[in-house]
Structure formats: structure tokens, C-alpha cells
């Protein structure tokens, strides 16, 4: 059983090429992906929409994504940091948040995200996808070259 199927994922990543790859990986895993490439946009999404999971790049071309992390912690959305910095570069406040070191592979992303969903303490609304029946339209769009 694929735990990630039809999960709604907020992807925050400011580099186009990296965002494209991460989006493809998440769609391959059956997720519905919402991409934010700027801090303000990411904050708006995190404030106004519900997500099952989030993948946050740390450095968004200057601004850091910590305020988004704060919002996600507040509303109980499980998330991970995907960063080239590694644990050393992280602010102490977020030591408990799992880190996916860039560059990463799809199985690593899948394993960490599944682990986040499996953790029981994250709140009831996370036990099942928000949209159980809606097929993932965007997942059918595939890059062809």
C-alpha cells in the first residue's frame, strides 16, 4: 500500500531545476503537488490551504523558509527540510525536523515522507488524504524530454 498516494504536498523550492525534479518525484509517488518558489507565496499557501505533507528548501534565494516551518508546526502539518546545508546549517529550533540532504533520490524522499505520515502524534486530520477520490490530474502531465 502506497501511503503517499493522493497526498497533498506543499513543495517550497526556489530553484527552477530543483523544483522540477522534486515535483516530478512527488508526482511519481502519487502526490498532488503545490509548488511555491517564494517565501510570501509559501506562507500564503501554508496559511490558506491544507496539506498532508510539506517539503521545504531552507534558503529561498535569500529569505529562509523558517516562517513557513513555524506555520506548519502550528497547524500540525508534518514536513521535512530538503537542503544542501545538512543538519549543521539548521537553526537549533528545528532540530527535530527531519532533513533530506540534497541531492536526494526518490526512494529517500518517499521513505522520509512515509515515515512522517506514520508518526501518530501529528494530529487526526493527517490519518487520511484530504482528497480521497479526486484523481491527480497534474500527475498525468509528464515531461517528455
Amino acid at each position: 500500500m502506497n501511503l503517499l498516494q493522493n497526498r497533498r504536498v506543499l513543495l517550497v523550492e526556489d530553484e527552477s531545476l530543483v523544483a522540477m525534479m522534486a515535483e516530478d518525484m512527488l508526482m511519481d509517488l502519487g502526490c498532488e503537488v503545490v509548488v511555491a518558489m517564494h517565501l510570501d507565496q509559501a506562507l500564503t499557501y501554508a496559511q490558506t490551504q491544507k496539506f498532508d505533507l510539506a517539503v521545504l528548501d531552507v534558503n529561498l534565494g535569500g529569505p529562509l523558509s523558517y516562517p513557513v516551518a513555524d506555520l506548519l508546526l502550528q497547524n500540525g502539518t508534518p514536513f521535512l527540510f530538503a537542503t544542501g546545508y545538512g543538519q549543521k546549517g539548521m537553526k537549533d529550533d528545528y532540530k527535530t525536523v527531519p532533513i533530506l540532504q540534497k541531492p536526494y533520490l526518490e526512494p529517500q524522499l518517499a521513505a522520509l515522507l512515509s515515515q512522517l505520515l506514520a508518526e501518530p502524534s501529528e494530529g487526526e486530520h493527517l490519518s487520511k488524504p484530504h482528497r480521497e477520490t479526486v484523481p491527480n490530474k497534474s500527475a498525468q502531465r509528464r515531461p517528455l524530454c
Partner: protein, 372 residues
């Protein structure tokens, strides 16, 4: 002309205005006390020189900087240069007449420069100085005031930064070459040659984009350089770059935009060479740009890629890497827009990108988020 006035005492002209001798004395004392407090608490070294370049006053910071006490300097009775600046870092003697600080006297106001001083204990240290002449009531120059600060840390920091940037340049280039090498070995004999070429060309485009950044210490890139860098690999036989016209004003781009734009241009160029205007002998491409005003008053880059006299083109049936990068990612990454039209005359792609987005945009949201 010699300086007979002790520098920190009031002039006779000033004392004439005072109504009584007693108040005069008290006020003088108070003035001197204040001046001493200012001078001795200043973190910058301050030297007062007479017209023979002898130091007649130095503050506490100057004593700490040089290792000499004012009394000792006064007792030496020689130009300050011979006490703190007498030797070049290579060990040669440094005569006073070669000294830039000396030469600054007496013509130039606020003459600035950098020199290397010799500490009392013999070690050399870099300093930044500002020298200004002091005038008497008749506008005669009676001395110089020199501010000096130790710039060892700034020099060391600049050197560290230079080394780091060199290391960064080296690493980035080598990493990209490593990626190319791994791909070559992994895909050899196993993958379509066309796919390998496409891959290699994209890595090369990424590498070229970084070349442009390296030239400018990663602080930005010149748009023309970015475009030329993106087109350079196509200068071979496959597409005659003479047929690609580039025109627009000088413009500096932030590093991120330079890289993504270079990748986008590479895709357009590759497409033109394979299927578009550059795939036929008489076809042409014009890359033009102008700076317009974005709605919020910021500058906006409006770049047009226009193919002419090529074979008829039709919209692609699917979105590939190139069109996804250009039409979706680039506008998203830079809050701009992209429009590609497949006209009978050839591909027309228009990019609009607001420039120099403030690095801290989104801070208002941060405040809001914190306040929640």
C-alpha cells in the same frame, strides 16, 4: 613657517571675545577636558603633525596602534614617518619623501589611502589613513591631522573571501565536469546518442552560465554576457551564430536569474537549430530586450526571442523540458511571465521579468506570520 601654536589651546582671537580672564581660564580648561575626552575615547588613532611632519599630539588609540607613547615620540624629535613608517614590508628603508601620507601634505583635504606601518615591536600592519591640513586664521597651513586605523582584519577577511571564491569556482566547475563524466560512463553504449548529446549540452549550458557569474565574483551577471554564453556552444557548424542578432541595453542580472535565463536560452537555441529558423540556411533569430517599468515601479526586463525565415512551425503536442522551464518555472521563479507563440514566420517567445526583486521580499508576511 613653523607651528608655534600648541594645537589644543584656544587662539588669542577667541579669548578676546570672552568678558573676563577668570571665565576665560575656566572655559579653556573645560574645552580642553572635553577635547581630551573625545580624543582619548576615539577608537581611531589620531595624530596631529606640524609643518615638519613631526607628531606633536597623538591620542590613546594612536599610542596603542603604534606601541609608542606621545612623550617618547616628542622626545625623538623627528618626523613621525621615521618612527612608524620607516621600512617597507620587504625590508627596504622607506624615506620620508616617498611617503604618500607626506605627499598628501599640504594640498589635499581628506586625502585617503592605505599604507603598511611598522609597530614598535617590529611587526608590520596594514592601515587606512585620512590626512587633512590644518589652517591658521590666515589660511596658512600649519600642520596635518591624520586619522589612522588598523585594517589587518579587513585585509584578512578580503583574502579569505578571495580564497573561498576561488575554491567555489573550482568546485562548481569540477562538480559539473564530474557529473558529465559520470553520465558519460553510465550511459556509454546503453543510451541513444541523441539523449547523451542533449544531456551534455545542458550541463555545458549550466557550466557556461556559471562562467559568467564567476567573472563577476558571483554578485551578478551582465545580460549580454549571459546571452552570448548561452549561444557560444552553438557557434559550431550546426547553427551559424552570425544569423543570431543580439541587441539591447546593458543590464545586470541577479545570479539566479542569470542561470535560469541561460538555461532557457539554451533550450530555445537548441530548438531553433533542430527544428526552427536555424535549421534552414536562410533562417534568422533576433534576441532583443528592453528595460520597461513594472507595475510597482521596479525595472522589468522584456526579452524577445524571434525566429524568422525558418520552416513553418506548429505548437508542440507535448511540453518538454525546455517549454516547461521557460513557460512555467521561469515565470514562477521570478514572478514574471512567458509567452511562446508558434507563428508561420517562426517561434516568438516573450519573457517579462521584474528585476532586482528585493532580497527580503516576503518580510511583511513573516511579520504577519509571527503575529498570528
Amino acid at each position: 613657517m613653523t607651528n608655534t601654536q600648541p594645537p589644543l589651546q584656544s587662539t588669542s582671537a577667541a579669548s578676546k571675545r570672552l568678558p573676563s580672564i577668570r571665565r576665560d581660564g575656566a572655559q579653556l580648561f573645560e574645552t580642553e577636558r572635553r577635547l581630551n575626552a573625545v580624543l582619548n575615547n576615539a577608537s581611531v588613532a589620531i595624530f596631529l603633525m606640524d609643518d615638519r611632519q613631526h607628531c606633536i599630539y597623538m591620542n590613546r588609540a594612536a599610542e596603542e596602534l603604534t606601541g609608542w607613547k606621545l612623550a617618547e615620540v616628542l622626545a625623538r624629535d623627528c618626523p613621525l614617518h621615521d618612527i612608524v613608517h620607516h621600512t617597507y614590508p620587504d625590508g627596504r628603508p622607506f624615506p620620508l619623501h616617498e611617503c604618500a601620507i607626506d605627499r598628501a601634505f599640504p594640498e589635499n583635504n581628506q586625502e585617503r589611502g592605505e599604507e603598511v606601518f611598522v609597530h614598535r615591536d617590529g611587526h608590520f600592519y596594514p592601515v587606512g589613513f585620512t590626512a587633512s591640513p590644518i589652517h591658521d586664521d590666515n589660511a596658512n597651513i600649519i600642520g596635518t591631522i591624520i586619522e589612522v586605523r588598523d585594517i589587518s582584519e579587513e585585509k584578512a577577511a578580503a583574502e579569505r573571501q578571495r580564497l573561498l571564491i576561488n575554491e567555489l569556482n573550482h568546485r562548481v566547475k569540477n562538480t559539473l565536469v564530474s557529473v558529465q563524466s559520470i553520465a558519460a560512463h553510465t550511459f556509454r553504449e546503453r543510451t541513444d546518442q541523441l539523449i547523451r548529446e542533449t544531456f551534455n549540452a545542458r550541463i555545458a549550458a549550466l557550466s557556461n552560465a556559471h562562467n559568467v557569474l564567476v567573472e563577476d565574483n558571483w554578485e551578478g551577471a551582465d545580460l549580454r554576457g549571459v546571452i552570448e554564453g548561452a549561444l557560444a556552444p552553438h557557434r559550431s557548424a550546426e547553427a551559424d551564430v552570425e544569423r543570431v542578432q543580439i541587441s539591447g541595453p546593458d543590464l545586470r542580472l541577479q545570479p539566479k536569474l542569470a542561470v535560469t535565463l541561460a538555461m532557457a536560452l539554451h533550450e530555445l537555441m537548441t530548438n531553433a537549430a533542430k527544428y526552427g529558423a536555424l535549421s534552414v540556411h536562410e533562417g534568422e533569430v533576433a534576441v532583443t530586450w528592453e528595460l520597461s517599468e513594472f507595475i510597482d515601479g521596479r525595472g522589468q526586463l522584456h526579452l524577445t526571442w524571434e525566429e524568422r525565415k525558418g520552416p513553418p512551425v506548429t505548437p508542440p503536442t507535448h511540453k518538454g523540458f525546455g517549454s516547461r522551464l521557460i513557460e512555467r518555472q521561469l515565470p514562477m521563479e521570478f514572478k514574471g511571465s512567458a509567452e511562446t507563440r508558434y507563428l508561420p514566420t517562426g517561434v516568438l517567445c516573450e519573457l517579462r521579468v521584474p528585476l532586482t526583486s528585493p532580497p527580503w521580499e516576503g518580510q511583511a508576511f513573516v511579520q504577519e506570520a509571527v503575529a498570528l
